[in-house]
Every structure is written in structure tokens, then in C-alpha cells.
Amino acid sequence: MRKRKLAGIFMSLMAAAGVIAGCSSSSSSGGGSDEGGEIKIGANLELSGGVASYGQSIKEGIDLALEEINKEGIDGKKIKLVTYDNKSEAPEAIAGATKLISQDKVAAIIGSATSGNTKAQIEIAQSNSTPLLTPTGTASDVTVKDGKLNDFVFRTCFIDPFQGTVAAQFAAQDLKVKTAAIFIDSSSDYSKGLADSFKEKFEAEGGKIVTQEAYVAKDTDFHSQLTNIKGKNPDFVFIPGYYEEVGLIVKQARELGLTVPLMGADGWDSPTLVDLAGKEALNNTFITNHYSSGDDDAKVQEFVKAFKAKYKDKSPDAFNALGYDSAYFIADAIKRAGSSDPKKIQKALAETDGLELVTGVMKLDKNHDPIKSAVILEYNDGEQQFKSKVDPE
């Protein structure tokens, strides 16, 4: 009991110290860092802990990009990366952002991989007027909170609902299906968001949603809902869920004789999906994703080549690509700002239009959400194959 009390006091002291540190730094912000021809950029990433693989992949991408950028430098200056490991925890992400801004005086922060850890840093970035760029935080409320724009927060990836729109466009225009069913995870905002945007776009394309069924995460038996879906004879089923359930859904759907194309989004993207569903059941299924190493675009192939040369023939995934693009996104803004002043960089970031990146041509809308292309992948004997690239309309 006593120990717990002491720990409590200690914690609150730490929190107070954090607040004070935050305050003191705000007075010195605005200067950025410009020491001896170097511009400091912070990286606040999940290098250990629960989602360590995300952070590590992003870091690999950033490292490769900075190596290339620093060959020439920006107006003769090199970019120096200051890395902070937030251990996949929001309190550590806050501590990291505070340290990067007040001690290291970085011009901008790249981080974090998850929307949750990024949201934890928004307050600090906003009050210190330092741009915060998340490579992979897809939740829509990262850049906009209660209808108000977080003007110093940016992201490199597109947002969740966009994938639903792309899937609907692909279903209606490429697969030419007329009727679709939707099967959602009713416990996930991600799933609901995708389903809503899919429905809106699919109906706008003249398609008809014949039925919508739901499950909750951790369910294992989907036969009943799938039997209902099959009874409505849809040409296509949209399943915006995560791979743990989707693997079972795909398997059970095929067992029940539901042979129509199935489609999902980046939540499917895991090797476990193939183990759960089986290679055969996954044929004739599609997903939307941020990027594919199989894309024949010259810019993508150049990146894949450079990445393989640096990382022992490893094929870059979407996290690598988005990390790489985040570094270029900031470097481009610094160049256009002609300064390492965080406020000028923020302005340049917001004005980005037509920047060519590996994951598509970047243009920001008024909510700081990128408008760029998504790729469609098809499963073929358990392997993802690049199918097409869909540009937003």
C-alpha cells in the first residue's frame, strides 16, 4: 500500500516535470535546429514492444531515404535523424515527443506507426508548433479533432474510408459486379468506416447492396451469416475486417459454396491469413493496400531495387515504403520552405501538391489527408499479386 502511494507520488511528479518541460520548450520553439549545416529531424517510433515490427520497418525506409537525400543535401545541408524508441506505448510516445522538441530541438517529427501513439503526441506538437508526420496512422481523427484541424499534424498514408471507396470503384468498374453483400466486424470502427464508404460509392456507381451481415471480433462460427449472404445471391462480398476473423470467414464461405469474389482492405495483409483460410479458398479474393512491390511503376521498381541492395535482398512492404516516403515528404517541404523553421515547414507541408512518391502522387486535402492512389492485390495460390492501381476520382 505504502509502496503504491510512493509510486503514485513519483508518477505525478514525473507528469508535472513533463508539463514544465513542455512549457519551457514552447518559448524556445520556432527556431528549429540549424547547427553546422545540419537539419535535425526526430523519429518517434515503435522500435520495441507490441507493434515493434511496424516501427522497425518504417525506420528502415527512413534510413534508406535519408541516405539518398544526404548524397546531395538540401541547399548544402544534411538531414540528421534523432531516433526515439517509444516502446509501442502512448506515455513513452509523449515523453519522446517532449524530448525531441525541447532537448534535441528538431525541425519536425516523424511518428508514430499507430494512430493511438500519434494521437498522444498531437497536443505537444500543436503547442510547440512543430510538424508531426505519421507514416501509417490511418484513423481519420488524427488530423481532425471535433471538426477542428490539427494544423501541425500530417500523414503519409491515406485514411481508412478511402479504401472502401477504392474497393467499390474496383468492384463496379473492373469486376463489373451489380450486386454486393457487406459483412462487417461490428466491434471495429475501422470496419464500419470502410463499409460505409464502400456502400456510398458502390451505390453511386449504380450497384445494389443486397444484404449486410455482422459479426464481432473473436467469433469463430460464421456459417449462419454466410448462409444468409449466399441466400441473397450477391455477385461480390465486401469483408472489411482483420485477418484473424477474415481467414475463417473466407474458409467457411468457400465451404458453403460461396464462390463469388471476396474483397477486403489492408486489415487482411498478414501471412496468418493464408494459414487460416488455406491457399485454395483465397483464390478469387482481392485487397486494397497502400503499395505493392509488384507494381511495375518505374519509381516503385527503383525503390525496390535500392531497398534490396541495402537490406540483403529483403522485399520492401507497405511500412517500409511509407517510412521512405515520409522522409521524402519532409525533405521536399524543407526544400520548398528554404529554412529549418518548423512553422515554415508546416506551411510547405500543407501546400504539398503533386509530389511523386513511391506510394503514389501526393496531394493534401483541407484536412491534411493525402489524396493518392491505392493498389489492388489479388491472392493467387496464397501469394499476393499486383492487380491494378486505382487513382482517386
Binding site: S186, E213, A214, Y215, V216, T220, D221, H223, S224, Q225, T227, N228, K230, G231, E244, G247, L248, K251, E255, L256, G257, T272, D275, L276, G278
Partner: protein, 293 residues
């Protein structure tokens, strides 16, 4: 119509898994008046033993099923001897709380040993084609589940009614003290009950893995609770009751989903429990036994 039959098939497949688990609940309750909440976790352990037998030892479905049943039988007896036997004369609430403790111990012990990540049963362990019957697609696995469940239930009926140990079990469940006076070894009989019940749970675990592919250390919780509902529905302590209760619950769940209430499925299962407790506390097959004074 086709759709309705398909839903019935779905329900019966699910229900036969519930029934296999419910049998263990009901047998143990019948003999020691204990709700063995660790039973769902024996089911989970059975699924993992089956999984490792298939993937590491490279065995087929039937050898894996037998290994899992044998291992679970031993495991069940161990649980009984270590956790429940010392409490046999303690209050029933003490034994119940211990059962919950054992359940948590098995769940998190498994996570400690192998981590919480799920495993996927290999898809090709049973190379069965699905068949079409009146336009209804029935997967080979559903038929296998049903066949194995029915065979195991018949074997159980045979053991309980035609063998000496079955006779002893029935005698102990009727009156433990009188049975002891008649020279029945009560401890061994109780252990045998746990062994048989746990073996059935182990078999259900392997079948579950075959049918639903994904297994994880917390997979036993919900099927365990549903099987408990099934046992109460049929009349706890009654072996035929557990079978009927399990199948009925599976079909009810499938039909609830069929009319569009898939998110209410779990709720309906427990509403059934509440209704049965209010209107027919002894269950569908239960006899109204007067309290002995």
C-alpha cells in the same frame, strides 16, 4: 427452404461440439455436484494436443484424436486429484471458486508456455470433399464431426449402462455414502468420471480445430459457457439431456443468426439459460427430485 436446411446443418455441427463438452459438465456434476469451470480449458488443451500431434508428430486425424483424448483423460484426473479432491467435503462454493481458479491457471499457464498467438489447424488433415444434398452443401468435415460425436455418445451410453464402472458411477451419483458402504471405490469412480468427461472434451477440442481452424489459449471460455448452458438446458446430471441440450442450443443459435440476429446469438444462448432456470429449473430431461432432509 434450402437455406433453412443449410442453417439446420450449420446448427447441428456447432451443436454436436457443444454436446460433447456438455457431457463432461453433466457427468461431473452428476457425481460430485460440482460445476467444473475448468472443463472448457481441458477442451482447449485437447485442441492444442491434437494440433501438435498433427503438425509435429505428423499424424492423421484419428491418431491425433485418440492421443488428445488419452492426454486429456490423464489431465482431467490430475485436476481432480490435485485441486478438487482435498475439497470434497468443503462447502460447494469453495469448490466452485477453486474450479474458476483452475480454469484461469490453465488458460494463463498455456499463454505463459507458448504465448497468446493463435494457431491454424492444417487444412489438409482430413481430405474430405463436400457433398450436395437437395441443393444444400454439406462439408465433409461437418459430417465427420457429427459421425464422431454420435459414435462417442453411443460409446458413452454403453460405458455408463453396460459396464461395471458405469454401474459404479451411477451408484455413486445416486448416493455416495451408500455406494461406499456397498464396497464401491468412490475415489476411483470419481476419477474415472473425470477421465471420461475430459476425454470427450479433448475430442471436442480436436474436432473444433478441424472445423474452425483457429485455436488459441482462450478459445475454451465461450464454448465452455455455452456447453454449460446446454447441460442446464437438458437437465444437469442427465447424460441424454446434455446431448439434446447441446444440439438444441446449436440449432437455436444458427436460427437466430438466420433471421438476422447474428449479433444477438450469444445473448440468446444465455436468455435460454435464464428462461430454463425460471420455468423448468431441472431442465428438459430433469426429474423433480425432492430435497432429502
Amino acid at each position: 427452404m434450402e437455406q433453412f436446411i443449410q442453417q439446420l446443418v450449420n446448427g447441428i455441427s456447432l451443436g454436436s461440439i457443444y454436446a460433447l463438452i456438455a457431457l463432461g459438465y453433466t457427468m461431473v456434476y452428476g457425481i460430485v455436484k460440482l460445476i467444473n469451470f475448468a472443463h472448457g480449458d481441458v477442451f482447449m488443451v485437447g485442441a492444442f494436443i491434437g494440433f501438435y500431434s498433427i503438425t509435429i508428430l505428423d499424424l492423421g486425424f484419428f491418431p491425433a484424436l485418440l492421443i488428445s483424448m488419452a492426454a486429456c483423460a490423464i489431465f482431467g484426473v490430475l485436476i481432480e486429484r490435485i485441486a478438487y479432491k482435498p475439497l470434497r467435503n468443503a462447502t460447494r462454493i469453495a469448490a466452485l471458486i477453486t474450479a474458476i481458479g483452475v480454469s484461469l491457471f490453465i488458460e494463463y499457464g498455456t499463454i505463459y508456455l507458448r504465448g497468446a498467438q493463435p494457431e491454424a489447424y492444417p487444412n489438409d488433415a482430413v481430405p474430405l470433399k463436400s457433398i450436395e444434398l437437395f441443393g444444400v452443401k454439406i462439408s465433409g468435415q461437418s459430417i465427420l464431426i457429427l459421425a464422431v460425436s454420435i459414435i462417442l455418445m453411443i460409446v458413452l451410453q454403453f460405458i455408463v449402462h453396460k459396464t461395471k464402472i458405469g454401474k459404479a458411477m451411477r451408484a455413486v451419483s445416486h448416493d455416495m455414502d451408500a455406494a461406499r458402504l456397498m464396497g464401491i471405490n468412490v475415489n476411483n469412480t470419481i476419477s474415472a468420471t473425470f477421465a471420461i468427461g475430459s476425454a470427450l472434451a479433448g475430442a471436442a477440442g480436436v474436432i473444433f480445430g478441424m472445423y474452425y481452424t483457429k485455436i488459441d489459449p482462450l478459445m475454451g471460455i465461450i464454448p465452455g459457457l455455452k456447453a454449460f448452458v446446454a447441460a442446464v438446458l437438458g437437465g444437469i446430471g442427465m447424460i441424454p439431456g446434455a446431448m439434446v441440450g447441446g444440439l438444441l442450443l446449436g440449432v437455436i443459435e444458427a436460427l437466430v443468426s438466420a433471421v438476422g440476429g447474428s449479433l444477438w446469438r450469444d445473448a440468446v444462448a444465455f436468455v435460454v439459460l435464464i428462461l430454463i432456470l425460471i420455468f423448468r429449473p431441472a431442465g428438459l430431461f430433469g426429474k423433480n427430485v425432492r430435497e432429502k432432509v
